[in-house]
Symmetry: C2
Subunit: 529 residues, 2 copies
């Protein structure tokens, strides 16, 4: 029997508050004990990856308390309730099931909703997309003039943009060197007219296939940008309906419109920020890299989802990562977390995680709409290493606030083009830098000159994989999705709605309708609207 | 006589700590009083821009206390000492003058250093770059085969990358529609071999001119990436020395090397993160857009620098912005600040500001190397609106921590291509959204359903300009540089060094040399270095 209790009503909350004495990384990571921690504080992930938390401010006592929290808060049971589709218990506000894991695998019971087996529904959409993409690649589906499409342009915003864009960038170069690359992808998101205008000026419109992505079919930015695209197609003398497909829900106005070549479906059980493995990511990634690459990406995510079922926190990397994050947030009092992938291909992965985490858990009320008395989701930011080292790492090392860090690294590069300088390859230098940073943050450095002194005790974890491939990318994505989900369970918030984005939309409509007074009117005047 | 005192040793520090009762934005921004604040809490910037702080948690009492702080901490006097080059008082650790403002104008006395009038030196470099760029554009400087260069690739990291890249992206589309666009620019920064490999695979190497940017001529990433480029040129049968220029200091090993077509100079008085208006930004921007556009960018910055001399905080936007930020950080206790440009062209401007601010003021010791007892620089993050609205704004509106916001907006788009949907253009929608967001954050919304309740009282400011042009971009850049400088003066830190980045470099070298033990060796093994 699942109980939804506020975090501060749990016994383990009190226990954890008694464990505020930070583990001194400076001492535990020194000498042989440090090496022992690196060996022992390591949890296998799927696809040959590993989550290592040696440089987090935890010890066996803290880990035991976190394990008790996981049990008391029934975190794995709640996950099971979610993937088994047990009632409308998960996304309480919107009274919806939460089924994004089902887009990549069957984790438990059949989920029947709206009279449909949802796994079958998602698989069917994936197959329909695969069929469509294969026909585009084979030149069976062509533009109005009978010519092959050579690029794809996604029109979407938020979850219909950040995740798919980050995934595309993560695999673009890998696909090019492995021979799976099919066509360039571009993305239009912002309502700023310069976004659509610039993207359209930079693509071959006549040979582009456009994907309109909007679950509701009513997203302001997306419909506006669709008009932009239709204008551009019309100006090029082309019939827009021969150049556009839609990804939407079956009940949306876009679903059965003659304006589109075809439509592929998601549903209300897939939140935008969790939609990279649904048709939202599926269409653009299958067109760009082929359906097989997309299927491999889903397999990677499915394997990681399966690991998250484990009740032993030492065998469940997403759960453990989540719990350590809660400890840092609610016990140690840290406000932000930096995500630092040592992989240029993951350049926009932090922006995706920023949405995933901050939109899911940036909440002040619990799932019953009651204000909670503890802090919830952190601020998430990040840039790839080593770039960040030459930018904001100064504050991370020597600033007055401690920011927990989440590193990601790979043993091998994607493109396998490299140079040896001073006896090492660039890939070796990249890896040496991330290892060095972890130790610099943990142990610091004494120096009589306080300006060159590093106090250390700055916690970090690292996920290490063999290479960034469709499988490891899928696993990485699922890891963070599941981490955020588990944290939402601990905080007893609904991680699957986003009421906080509504008020701005309502007020923007008022401004456009001229229905303003006082300060809002003054701002409208200032901006010359 | 300038005195360098810790912030908490000032009388005004105590006064401000007594002003912790937050101004209730929800009430002061309501009704006619809100409109009055929008009209009055507004400071003209240069180039037709305005800094509006109506929705900040300040009132006349707080502003008076901040004005006293500005006087007591001698902020404008310290700025004068800096631009007049008075001794080596500013960058204490490295014992260097700080002269980036001098790259765009003479604000005070002649500055003579190393036997040279520094303004003349910077102007001379600008002229040499202009001459070089004009010759490239005219086909007088050509590739080895006598053909015109068609693109430029900058090799640099940190300040040699983020600022110039953000400025290039900010003006790329503007230049294309105004007919000033000369050639595409690309950037290689990360030591990750996939960065260089991908950029080189995407450019026409034979018709590219490469700019190697490193002040010291010893930056690991940059020299490694130079080898990458030389390899690529050699493989294409080209002589690298005919395709590369250097931007460096006159004393660096790159300065007079036969490996480069030419070399342009910066010096030790220009910090990397402050170098966009020096030769570091000058070479790539002059090649991409022509020297006239770069000169206009400098003029915009110079005008904003001149405003920062004003001792009246109501007439000095950078100073006022800095002081309000200090009040938010040290009195109201906010840890992060989000930068939210409603302009897709400013997509990487937040990443530049992240370096500028966090590397400058992420310090725990004062300029004399003594630990300070108050918090200093905040975490900076951000993405363009409206994209961010569909991502992390949920936490900004309804999360458990308050994050001050810094909006930027423009009356007109850059490309002037637009569509009318539901009675408004995209540009109008963009502006309506930023106005709406400010009011939503300030005033919130009551709702019996707590999940749809917005508590408001979330502070923001906005900078509004006519259009994003070289001039307004320069002014925007200088505004933030000067804001960060003034905050550094208040916190009594040295905003112009970055000792926090050194330790990681030292440890990375140890890893590569195999000189590790214990935990560092264990991490090296984990990563298979």
């Amino acid at each position: 029997m699942i109980e939804w209790k506020n975090f501060d009503k749990l016994e383990s909350y009190k226990t954890l508050q008694g464990l505020k004495n930070k583990v001194e990384l400076k001492s535990v990571m020194a000498g042989a004990n440090g090496a022992k921690r690196v060996a022992e504080y390591s949890v296998p992930m799927s696809n040959g990856m590993v989550y290592n938390f040696a440089s987090k401010q935890v010890d066996d006592t803290v880990l035991d308390a976190l394990a008790k929290l996981a049990d008391e808060a029934q975190l794995v049971d709640k996950y099971a309730a979610l993937y088994n589709g047990e009632g409308e218990v998960i996304n309480t506000g919107e009274k919806r099931l939460v089924l994004h894991q089902l887009t990549r695998g069957q984790l438990g019971d059949d989920v029947i909703a709206d009279g449909v087996n949802k796994r079958e529904f998602y698989v069917k959409q994936q197959e329909r997309i695969a069929d469509f993409a294969n026909k585009v690649h084979a030149g069976e589906i062509v533009n109005e003039k009978g010519e092959k499409f050579t690029s794809v342009v996604q029109i979407g915003i938020g979850g219909s943009d950040l995740g798919p864009r980050a995934m595309y960038l993560a695999l673009e170069n890998w696909a090019k060197v492995t021979g799976t690359f099919k066509m360039e992808a571009h993305f239009i998101s912002n309502v700023d007219p310069d976004d659509a205008a610039a993207v359209l000026a930079g693509v071959d419109v006549a040979h582009s296939i456009f994907i309109l992505v909007s679950k509701s079919g009513t997203t302001l930015e997306t419909l506006t940008n669709e008009s932009f695209v239709k204008d551009a197609l019309a100006k090029a003398g082309l019939d827009a309906s021969k150049h556009m497909i839609a990804v939407t829900s079956e009940t949306s106005p876009l679903a059965k419109s003659a304006d589109y070549l075809d439509a592929f479906f998601m549903d209300d059980y897939i939140g935008g920020r969790y939609s990279s493995t649904s048709s939202v990511g599926g269409a653009v990634l299958s067109l760009a890299f082929g359906p097989d690459v997309f299927a491999r990406f889903l397999n990677g995510a499915a394997a990681e989802d399966a690991l998250a079922k484990n009740t032993d926190i030492r065998k469940n990397p997403a759960l453990l990562d989540a719990l350590i994050g809660v400890y840092e947030r609610n016990v140690l009092g840290y406000e932000s977390t930096a995500v630092l992938p040592y992989s240029q291909a993951l350049s926009r992965f932090p922006a995706h995680l920023q949405q995933l985490d901050m939109e899911s858990n940036g909440k002040s009320v619990n799932r019953f709409g009651e204000k909670v008395d503890y802090v919830t989701g952190p601020v998430i930011f990040g840039e790839p290493g080593t770039n960040g080292q030459h930018s904001f790492y100064q504050l991370l090392h020597q600033g007055t606030n401690i920011i927990p860090l989440q590193f990601v690294g790979f043993k091998k590069s994607q493109m396998a083009t490299d140079v040896v300088i001073e006896g090492s390859t660039s890939q070796q230098k990249l890896k040496a830098n991330v290892a060095a940073q972890i130790m610099a943050f943990a142990c610091g450095k004494d120096d009589d000159n306080r300006n060159k002194y590093f106090e250390g005790n700055r916690p970090s974890s690292i996920i290490v994989g063999e290479q960034l491939t469709p499988e490891t990318l899928g696993a990485l994505l699922a890891h963070f999705e599941n981490k955020v989900m588990f944290q939402g369970f601990v905080w007893n918030v609904n991680s699957f709605d986003q009421e906080g984005v509504q008020l701005g939309k309502v007020l923007a409509k008022k401004v456009l309708a001229g229905d303003t007074s006082d300060a809002l009117a003054a701002y409208a005047k200032l901006l010359d609207i």
